[in-house]
C-alpha cells in the first residue's frame, strides 16, 4: 500500500465523517458517533503514512544506489 493510497483512504474517511457529523449532529447520536469514529479511523490511517513513506524512501534509495540525499543547501 503506497502512502498516497493511504492518504486517499484517510481523505475518504474524513469526508464520510463530515457527512455523518453534519447529518447526525442535531439529534442522531449514533450517526455523529459514527462520524467521529470515521474521522478517528482516518487519522490512524494517516499516521500509517509515516511507515509507508519510510519504506518508499528506502526503496527509492536502493533504486538510485545512493544513501542519504539532501540538497546541500546552506543554512
Amino acid at each position: 500500500m503506497t502512502s498516497n493510497r493511504l492518504n486517499l483512504i484517510a481523505s475518504l474517511f474524513v469526508l464520510a465523517g463530515l457527512v455523518l457529523l453534519v447529518v447526525g449532529l442535531p439529534d442522531n447520536r449514533i450517526m455523529w458517533l459514527l462520524g467521529l469514529g470515521a474521522v478517528g479511523v482516518a487519522m490512524v490511517v494517516a499516521i500509517g503514512t509515516r511507515v509507508t513513506e519510510q519504506r518508499e524512501e528506502e526503496e527509492g534509495e536502493q533504486e538510485t544506489g545512493q544513501g542519504g540525499g539532501g540538497t546541500g543547501e546552506p543554512t
Binding site: A10, V14, G17, V44, A46, G48, E73
Partner: protein, 561 residues
C-alpha cells in the same frame, strides 16, 4: 469570557502539549505533517476529554467545523497545484525564467520582486494561501531552491495578513471587540506592522547574500518598505479594506522603476549564490562552479533562451497568472460584480456546545460560510483551465500530456496535504471548543504584570496564528480576551488589539496550514519541520521588536489611549 476553567500551571502545560508534540515531531523528529498532525490531534482530544471536561458531542461539533475549515483551505491547494502542473508541463516556467532574465537582469531584485512585493500584492487582494500558491511555483521556476521558494514569500507576505484580503481580518476583529477608539488601533497596528514588513525585506536580502545582499538591496528595501508601510499607515485611517492593496500595488509599480535604475544593472563578480539551484537561475550566466566549467555560458545559452522564448513568449507563459490577477481584481474589487457573485454562499449548520467548565459556543446556521464564486480556489481553477486551453491551442504539451495525467500529478501532490491540513484544523477547533486555547492565553495574562502583558500581547497573536494558521482566526479567538485583560490591567485596549493584530500577522510565517500549502506546491511537504525551524527565528526576532515597539508607543503616547 465567562468560564470556570482552571488556570493553573498543570492545565496550562496540558493545554500546550498538543502544540509541543506537533512541533517536536515536525521540527525535531522530522515526521511528515500527515502523520505528525494526527498524533497531536489525538493528544488534544485526550486532554480535552480527560482534563477539560469536554463532552463527545462538543468534540463532534469541533471536528465537523475543523473539517469544514480544511475544505476551505484545500479548495486553494488543489486548484493551485493544478495551475502549477498546467504551467509546468507546458514549459511555462522555463519561458518565464528566460523572459525575466532579459527584462530584469538583477536576480536579487527578482527575488525581492517575487518573494516580497508580488506575494504582498496578492495578499492584499486574496489571502488564504493564495500568495504562496502563486509565488512558490514562480520562484521555483526561476531556479530558487524549493525550501527558500516557500520561506521567502511566507515571510514576505506575513505583514500583509493583518489588512490584506481586503481587510477581512480587521472587520472580523471589529465584529468580536467593541473598540472605543478604532482610529488609534489602526494607527498603532500600522506602525507595528511596519516592523515585520521591514524585517521581511532585510531577511530576504540577508538570505540571498548575507552582507553583500543587504548592501545591494538597501535602496530597494528602503523604497519598497516606505511604500508598503507608509501608504498603509496613511490609508488605514481612510479605507482600511483597500490600504494594503493600494500600498502593495504602488510597491509593485516601483519594482519596475527600480529595475531601470543603473544601480541594479551592475555586474558584480563577488555576487554570492545561496538561494538558486546550480545551473538553473536568472540574472548572470554560467553559474554553478562544476557546471560552469563545462558549460559554454555565453552564446550557446543565449541561443537556448531565444528558442525557449520563441516557443513560448513571456506574456504567454505568464498568461495563467495574469488571468488569475485580473479575475481576482474583477471578482473582489468591483462592488457590483462582487455583490452578485457573493449571492451564492455555502456554510454548514452546527448546534451549540458546552463543556463541564462552561466553555460555550453558540449554534450557527451557516458556519464559516464562504462564497464559492469569489473564493480563490475558483479563481485558480478558472486560471488553470484557461491556461490549459491556451497552452494546448499553441501545441505546447507533449502527446502523452492530457488533462487526466496533469490532474493525476496534481492529486498525487495534494493528497498528503489533504489529511495533514484536515488534522491541523481539527486540532485548532478542538483546542478552541474545549477551552485549551483560552487557558493558554489566560495563563499568560495571569502571570504577567501589566506592562509585561502588554509586551507579550503580540506573542499571544503569534501563538493564535501558529495554532489556527490564520491571522483572522487568531484575532477572533484572542482579541476579546486581549481587550478584557487590557481593561482589567488598566492598559489601552487599542494598543493591545494592535499588538495582537501585528502578532497574528507575524505568526502567519509559522502557520502550519499555509506553510504546508507552500511546501506541497514546492513538492517537499515532508520538509515542513525544516521550514518552520527556519521561519521560527524570524518570527521570534520580529515578535521581540514588535513588543519593544508596543512599549515605545505606550510611553510616547503617555499610556496609549
Amino acid at each position: 469570557m465567562q468560564t470556570n476553567l482552571p488556570v493553573t500551571v498543570g492545565y496550562w502545560i496540558a493545554a500546550f502539549l498538543p502544540i509541543l508534540i506537533l512541533l517536536v515531531l515536525l521540527v525535531w523528529r522530522r515526521w511528515p505533517t500527515s502523520a505528525a498532525a494526527p498524533v497531536a490531534l489525538f493528544v488534544a482530544v485526550g486532554v480535552a476529554l480527560w482534563l477539560f471536561r469536554t463532552p463527545l458531542d462538543t468534540l463532534a461539533v469541533a471536528t465537523g467545523k475543523g473539517i469544514w475549515d480544511a475544505i476551505f483551505v484545500l479548495y486553494v491547494i488543489w486548484p493551485s497545484l493544478l495551475l502549477f502542473k498546467v504551467a509546468e508541463d507546458a514549459g511555462a516556467f522555463e519561458a518565464i525564467q528566460a523572459g525575466l532574465r532579459r527584462l530584469m537582469p538583477d536576480r536579487l531584485l527578482v527575488v525581492l520582486a517575487f518573494g516580497w512585493v508580488l506575494t504582498s500584492f496578492i495578499q492584499g487582494i486574496a489571502g488564504f494561501g493564495t500568495p504562496l500558491a502563486v509565488t512558490v511555483p514562480l520562484l521555483i521556476g526561476l531556479g530558487v531552491k524549493p525550501l527558500y521558494a516557500v520561506l521567502l514569500p511566507i515571510i514576505g507576505a506575513a505583514w500583509g495578513n493583518a489588512f490584506g484580503s481586503l481587510g477581512t481580518t480587521w472587520f472580523a476583529t471589529q465584529s468580536v471587540v467593541d473598540l472605543q477608539n478604532p482610529e488609534a488601533t489602526l494607527l498603532y497596528a500600522a506602525i507595528l506592522l511596519w516592523i515585520p514588513n521591514l524585517l521581511a525585506g532585510i531577511t530576504i536580502s540577508w538570505l540571498y547574500g548575507r552582507w553583500w545582499g543587504l548592501r545591494r538591496a538597501a535602496p530597494a528595501i528602503a523604497v519598497i518598505s516606505l511604500l508598503h508601510g507608509g501608504i498603509q499607515l496613511v490609508l488605514l485611517q481612510v479605507v482600511p479594506a483597500l490600504a494594503t492593496f493600494i500600498a502593495t500595488a504602488a510597491a509593485f509599480a516601483a519594482i519596475f522603476v527600480l529595475n531601470r535604475w543603473s544601480f541594479y544593472r551592475q555586474e558584480d563578480e563577488d555576487e554570492p549564490n545561496r538561494l538558486f539551484v546550480r545551473g538553473a537561475w536568472i540574472g548572470k550566466e554560467g553559474e554553478g562552479e562544476a557546471e560552469a566549467a563545462d558549460a559554454e555560458p555565453g552564446a550557446e545559452g543565449r541561443v537556448q533562451e531565444q528558442e525557449t522564448e520563441q516557443r513560448m513568449p513571456l506574456l504567454i507563459a505568464f498568461a495563467p497568472y495574469a488571468i488569475l490577477a485580473v479575475l481576482a481584481v474583477v471578482a473582489l474589487l468591483i462592488p457590483p460584480i462582487t455583490n452578485v457573485l457573493e449571492q451564492v454562499e455555502v456554510g454548514l449548520p452546527f448546534p451549540e456546545t458546552q463543556t463541564g467548565y462552561d466553555v460555550q459556543q453558540e449554534s450557527v446556521d451557516a458556519y464559516a460560510a464562504f462564497t464559492p464564486l469569489t473564493h480563490p480556489g475558483t479563481l485558480l481553477l478558472i486560471s488553470a483551465l484557461a491556461g490549459y486551453v491556451l497552452f494546448r491551442s499553441r501545441n505546447l504539451y507533449d502527446a502523452d500530456e492530457t488533462p487526466a495525467t496533469i490532474g493525476r500529478d496534481a492529486a498525487a501532490q495534494a493528497l498528503p496535504a489533504t489529511t495533514a491540513i484536515t488534522a491541523l484544523l481539527i486540532i485548532s477547533k478542538v483546542m478552541d471548543h474545549s477551552g485549551e486555547i483560552t487557558v493558554l492565553a489566560l495563563g499568560i495574562a495571569a502571570v504577567a504584570p501589566d506592562l509585561v502583558y502588554l509586551a507579550a500581547s503580540n506573542f499571544i497573536g503569534i501563538l493564535g496564528a501558529l495554532i489556527t494558521s490564520s491571522n483572522t482566526a487568531s484575532n477572533v479567538l484572542f482579541a476579546p480576551l486581549q481587550a478584557t485583560a487590557a481593561e482589567a490591567e488598566g492598559l489601552p485596549v487599542s494598543l493591545a488589539i494592535a499588538a495582537q493584530t501585528a502578532g497574528g500577522a507575524t505568526g502567519n510565517a509559522l502557520a502550519p496550514g499555509d506553510a504546508l500549502l507552500g511546501m506541497t506546491v514546492a513538492g517537499i511537504p515532508e520538509r515542513l519541520g525544516e521550514l518552520i525551524g527556519r521561519a521560527l527565528p524570524w518570527a521570534l526576532i520580529t515578535g521581540i521588536l514588535v513588543s519593544a515597539g508596543t512599549l515605545i508607543i505606550y510611553f510616547v503616547t503617555g499610556g496609549g489611549g
